[in-house]
C-alpha cells in the first residue's frame, strides 16, 4: 500500500482525469452520426443513391438545397451516396475484425494452452504468414475467391488473424499462470470449462480493446480494396468505390474525391481516437 492513495488529488488533476477530452467527445459524436447513417440512411439523405435524376452532374456542394453536397458525374446525390455507403463500411470494419478476433482467439488459445509441439507449429506457421504484408494476403484471398464485398471482408479478416493470434497467445500465457485459473483447476473443474469461463474471457479483454483500433484499420483497408476495384462494385454506393469513380474526374470536380476522402479519414480517425482512449483506460486500471 502506498501512502499517496490517502492524499486527496489536486482539484485540477481530478477534473482533468474525469472529464473526457474534447477530441474524444468529437470522435464519439461523429461516430454516432455515422452509426445513425448506417442504420437509417434516409434520415440524413432522403434521395435515392442510385437514381440518375434529371439534375445536372458535377453540381458543387451547397449550390442547391436539393443536393447539399452536390451531385456526381451521373447527377446522383453525393450526400445520399455517402449515407448509403456508411453501412457497408461499418459492416466491413466490424465483420473483418470479428473474423480476425475469432480466428485469432482459436489459434492463440491453441498455441497458448496446447503442448509445446502444438505451440511451435502454430507459431512457425504464423511466422510464415507474418512475412507477407497484410494487403498482399488480402489480395491472395481475393485472387482465389474472386472480387466482391463479402470476399473483400473475408480477405481483410483472414489477413489480420496472425496479428490477433499472437496477442491472444501472449495474454493466455499470462492468464493461465494466474491464481484464479490455478484455483479453478485445483477445484477439479473440467479443463474445457476453465478455458471457457476463466482463460478465454480474461485473455480476450485486452485484445478486444486493441481490436477497436483494428476496426478503423479494417474500414481503411476495405475502402482501399474497393478503391482498387476488388471490393464493392459500382454502381453500389460505397466510400472506396465512390473515390475510385471520382478519381477519373479529379481535374473536373475534385470535390467528388475530397468529400468521401474526408469522411473515410474522419471515421478511421474517430475509431482510432476512441480505441486509444479505451486502451489508455484499460492500461491505467491494470497498472494500478
Amino acid at each position: 500500500m502506498t501512502t499517496t492513495a490517502h492524499l486527496p488529488a489536486p482539484r485540477g488533476v481530478w477534473l482533468r482525469s474525469r472529464l473526457p477530452r474534447p477530441g474524444i467527445v468529437l470522435a464519439a459524436l461523429f461516430l454516432l452520426v455515422v452509426a445513425v447513417a448506417a442504420v437509417v440512411p434516409g434520415l440524413l439523405a432522403a434521395q435515392d443513391p442510385l437514381a440518375i435524376g434529371t439534375d445536372p452532374g458535377f453540381l458543387p456542394p451547397f449550390a442547391s438545397t436539393a443536393h447539399l453536397l452536390g451531385t456526381d458525374q451521373e447527377g446522383r446525390d453525393v450526400l445520399s451516396r455517402l449515407a448509403h455507403g456508411t453501412a457497408p463500411s461499418l459492416v466491413m470494419g466490424l465483420g473483418a475484425t470479428g473474423i480476425a478476433v475469432i480466428g485469432g482467439a482459436v489459434l492463440g488459445l491453441l498455441a497458448g494452452l496446447g503442448s509445446r509441439a502444438t505451440e511451435a507449429v502454430v507459431m512457425r506457421v504464423l511466422d510464415v504468414v507474418l512475412a507477407i504484408p497484410e494487403l498482399l494476403l488480402a489480395l491472395i484471398v481475393i485472387a482465389l475467391l474472386g472480387t466482391g464485398t463479402e470476399h473483400a471482408l473475408l480477405a481483410v479478416g483472414v489477413a489480420t488473424i496472425p496479428y490477433y493470434s499472437r496477442m491472444v497467445r501472449a495474454q493466455t500465457h499470462v492468464v493461465r499462470r494466474s491464481g484464479y485459473v490455478e484455483a479453478a483447476t485445483g477445484l477439479g473443474i473440467h479443463q474445457a470449462s476453465v478455458i471457457w469461463r476463466h482463460v478465454l474471457p480474461n485473455a480476450i479483454k485486452p485484445v478486444l480493446v486493441l481490436a477497436t483500433i483494428g476496426v478503423g484499420t479494417a474500414i481503411a483497408v476495405g475502402a482501399s480494396l474497393s478503391f482498387l476495384g476488388l471490393g464493392a462494385q459500382p454502381p453500389a454506393p460505397e466510400w472506396g468505390s465512390m473515390l475510385a469513380a471520382g478519381v477519373q474526374y479529379i481535374s473536373v470536380d475534385w470535390m467528388l474525391v475530397a468529400i468521401p476522402a474526408v469522411v473515410i479519414t474522419l471515421t478511421v480517425l474517430s475509431v482510432t481516437v476512441l480505441g486509444q482512449d479505451l486502451r489508455r483506460r484499460a492500461e491505467g486500471r491494470t497498472a494500478r
Binding site: R124, V125, D127, V128, L130, A131, I132, P133, E134, L135, L136, L139, I140, I142, A143, L144, G146, T147, G216, A220, V221, A223, S224, F227, L228, G229, L230, L243, V247, I250, S251, W254, V257, A258, A261, I264, T265, V268, L269, V271, T272, V273
Partner: protein, 313 residues
C-alpha cells in the same frame, strides 16, 4: 568469443529465415496444386475451345500433374531454388521475368520512400521529443491523422493540392523525377507517422538517462545531445520495426502505383489478382516473402553493429 557468438546468432537467424521461406513455398505449392486444374485448362481452353481428353491428358503430363504429389512438391521446391517461379497463365511468360521487368520501377519508388520516411521521422522525432506541450500536441495530432488516413486518401490529397491546385507535379505517368515526387511521398507519409511516433516515445525515455545529463553537464548543445547521443539509443527501436516498414511499403506500392498509374510490382500484383492469375499472384508473394526475410536478416546483422550489447546478452 564475440565473433563466435555473432556467427551463432546470424546462423540461427538464417535457419529461421530459410524456415519461413520453406513454409511460404509449401503454402504456395498447395495453393497452386489446388488450382492447377484451371492452369491446365487455361493453357488450351481459349475462347470457345473444346479440348479433347487426349489433349487435356497431354497438358497434364506437360505440367507434371500426373506425377505423385510428393514428386510434384519436390520438383516445385527444386524449381524455386533455381529461381523459377512458374509461368503466368494470363501473360504467358515466366513469373520471374514478369517480376524482373517491373522491379526497377518499384525499387525506385520504395527506396525514395524509405529515405524520405527515415529522414522525416528522425528529424521530427528528435526535434520534438520532450518539448513543450503544444509542440507535442501538434505533432502527435498530425501523426495520428497521417497514420489513420488510408494510403490512397493521402495520395489523393497530395494530387488535389499539388497537381490540380498548384500544378507543380504531373497527375500520373512515370517520366522523370517530377512524376516520382507525389507517389514517393504517398508511400512514405503513413510509414513516417508511425516511425516518428515510436522514435519520439523512445527518445523521451532515453533523454531521461544519466548519460544524457552527463553530456549536457559537459556543456554540449541540446541539438548535439539529441542527435549524437540520444538518437543512437532510440534508433534501435526503429531497426526492430523494419519488418513493419517493408510490409507497409510493399502493401503501399499496390495502392500508390494504381493511383498514380505507374508500372511496378504492385500494379503487377493487382492485375494478377483481378485476372485470378494464381501463379503470378503466388510468385509475387513468394518474392515479397524473400525480400522480407533477406531484409530482416541484414537488419539483424546491422542491429549488432548499432547495439553491441545484443550479442553478449
Amino acid at each position: 568469443m564475440r565473433a563466435k557468438l555473432l556467427a551463432e546468432r546470424i546462423g540461427w537467424r538464417m535457419i529461421a529465415g530459410v524456415g519461413v521461406l520453406w513454409g511460404a513455398a509449401t503454402a504456395a505449392f498447395f495453393t497452386l496444386h489446388g488450382t492447377a486444374g484451371d492452369a491446365a485448362l487455361s493453357t488450351v481452353a481459349g475462347q470457345g475451345a473444346d479440348p479433347t481428353q487426349a489433349v487435356l491428358d497431354q497438358v497434364r503430363r506437360d505440367y507434371g500433374l500426373d506425377l505423385p504429389l510428393w514428386r510434384q512438391y519436390v520438383d516445385y521446391l527444386g524449381q524455386l531454388l533455381h529461381g523459377d517461379l512458374g509461368e503466368s497463365y494470363q501473360q504467358r511468360l515466366p513469373v520471374a521475368q514478369a517480376i524482373e521487368a517491373q522491379l526497377g520501377q518499384t525499387v525506385q519508388l520504395a527506396a525514395g520512400a524509405i529515405v524520405i520516411a527515415l529522414v522525416l521521422a528522425v528529424g521530427v522525432g528528435v526535434l520534438t521529443a520532450k518539448r513543450r506541450r503544444w509542440v507535442r500536441a501538434t505533432t502527435t495530432g498530425v501523426e495520428l491523422l497521417l497514420a489513420s488516413t488510408p494510403t490512397f486518401v493521402i495520395g489523393l490529397v497530395l494530387l488535389i493540392v499539388f497537381s490540380i491546385g498548384l500544378h507543380l507535379f504531373p497527375v500520373s505517368g512515370q517520366d522523370g523525377l517530377r512524376s516520382l515526387v507525389l507517389p514517393t511521398f504517398t508511400l512514405a507519409l503513413p510509414v513516417t507517422a508511425i516511425l516518428s511516433q515510436v522514435l519520439r516515445s523512445e527518445l523521451e525515455d532515453v533523454l531521461e538517462q544519466p548519460f544524457i545529463l552527463t553530456a549536457r553537464a559537459r556543456g554540449m548543445r541540446d541539438v548535439a545531445v539529441r542527435f549524437r547521443h540520444a538518437l543512437r539509443h532510440a534508433a534501435i527501436q526503429l531497426v526492430t520495426m523494419s519488418g513493419y516498414i517493408i510490409g507497409g511499403l510493399l502493401g503501399g506500392t499496390v495502392i500508390t502505383e494504381s493511383l498514380f498509374n505507374r508500372q511496378g510490382i504492385g500494379q503487377l500484383m493487382l492485375v494478377a489478382t483481378t485476372n485470378k492469375d494464381i501463379p503470378l499472384v503466388v510468385g509475387v508473394v513468394i518474392f515479397c516473402a524473400l525480400v522480407y526475410v533477406v531484409v530482416n536478416l541484414v537488419v539483424d546483422i546491422l542491429y549488432t553493429v548499432i547495439d553491441p550489447r545484443v550479442v553478449t546478452r
